[in-house]
Symmetry: D2
Subunit: 113 residues, 4 copies
């Protein structure tokens, strides 16, 4: 009904959706970007077939997004870059979240069988 490569891509999508919707909305400031990056990556790396996750929350974008009175903002896709490597059977899938036309887009970068 489905190939290993298709299954690998499905798994990769699950990880991306999970990461985004688990952590979007988290209060963030330049003081907490490093711990949030690490926690996001390590949380999603727990999921099956997820070999590695790299998250960069950009301090400069966080600073720009901050309300001066509040001192923090909420995590959204436009503040971070994410790359993942998912391995299912003999298939390696690489994905990336990047800005396109001002909006964050989750992308399938490469499927290697």
């Amino acid at each position: 009904m489905s190939t290993d490569a298709q299954q690998a891509c499905f798994e990769a999508g699950i990880k991306f959706g999970s990461l985004y919707h688990q952590f979007a909305g988290t209060p963030v400031s330049p003081a907490s970007t490093r711990s949030l990056e690490t926690a996001m990556a390590e949380a999603i790396e727990n999921q099956p077939y997820c070999e590695s996750v790299e998250v960069t929350v950009h301090d400069d974008r966080v600073r720009e997004a901050i309300d001066h009175e509040n001192g923090y903002t909420e995590l959204t896709g436009s503040l971070m870059d994410v790359t993942m490597r998912v391995v299912y059977e003999d298939v390696v899938v690489r994905t990336r979240m990047e800005m396109e036309g001002g909006y964050p887009l989750m992308k399938l970068v490469d499927v290697e069988e």
Copy 2:
């Protein structure tokens, strides 16, 4: 770098991970199962390529999971069934969340090119 079918499976995975991690933890009782089902389905149907989502939150399982003092529980995978239909270019992907060995599993049911 990737086929339409692989892209379709990636998109299907994103929707599943999004649905699960957006709504897991929501306070739920038999009085609120219907509205939660509808909101989950309609929220995820907003996402690109997502043609239809069906969510069933099982009243009997919710009732069993409830702490008698509190009167509600938190939504988890074991309380619901989810099916989705994702269409990308000419590819139709059907997915299902079901219990396997006591744990909820997101499954690629069918990929039709």
Copy 3:
């Protein structure tokens, strides 16, 4: 250690934080505002001491926030109004989320003993 009125205010705060961080980030469009409003209100009304919750997700603000290509946006505080009524022992607490200086603020409106 604490009065009934203080406990009532604590409970009211819990409900507000719960509602916001459970549902922020949910994909939303004018086609799904009604179901999201209902699900949010009914979910939080499950929590102890929470007598009523009213949520308005503003269709016009959702429309303005939407990326034309995507057709949906993510729920944030600036798209909605929320009011709650929490009753603990003989104390009634009313709260409201409203925009102030361009940012959503959760406010204690009234504490009635």
Copy 4:
């Protein structure tokens, strides 16, 4: 309409509800407990009036909750202890999440004016 102490308790409640519903459902294993603890504490400490947050995710409880096949579980209140200190004007509020009758309960420990 409300005293500083009541406002302080409301703020303390917001922080608790935020922490719980932002992070409940996060995939967790003994390999990721430390980073999750730090990220949760630092995220919520960004919020106004929140002086300190301490989170302990118990490795032994995480291990017990883990499905042997999956290797991870989802964060819930029963896996962690949380204490917070909120300061509003001259009022100090201390809160704690603890298990009671098998269920996690958010508690107002002390209000000091």
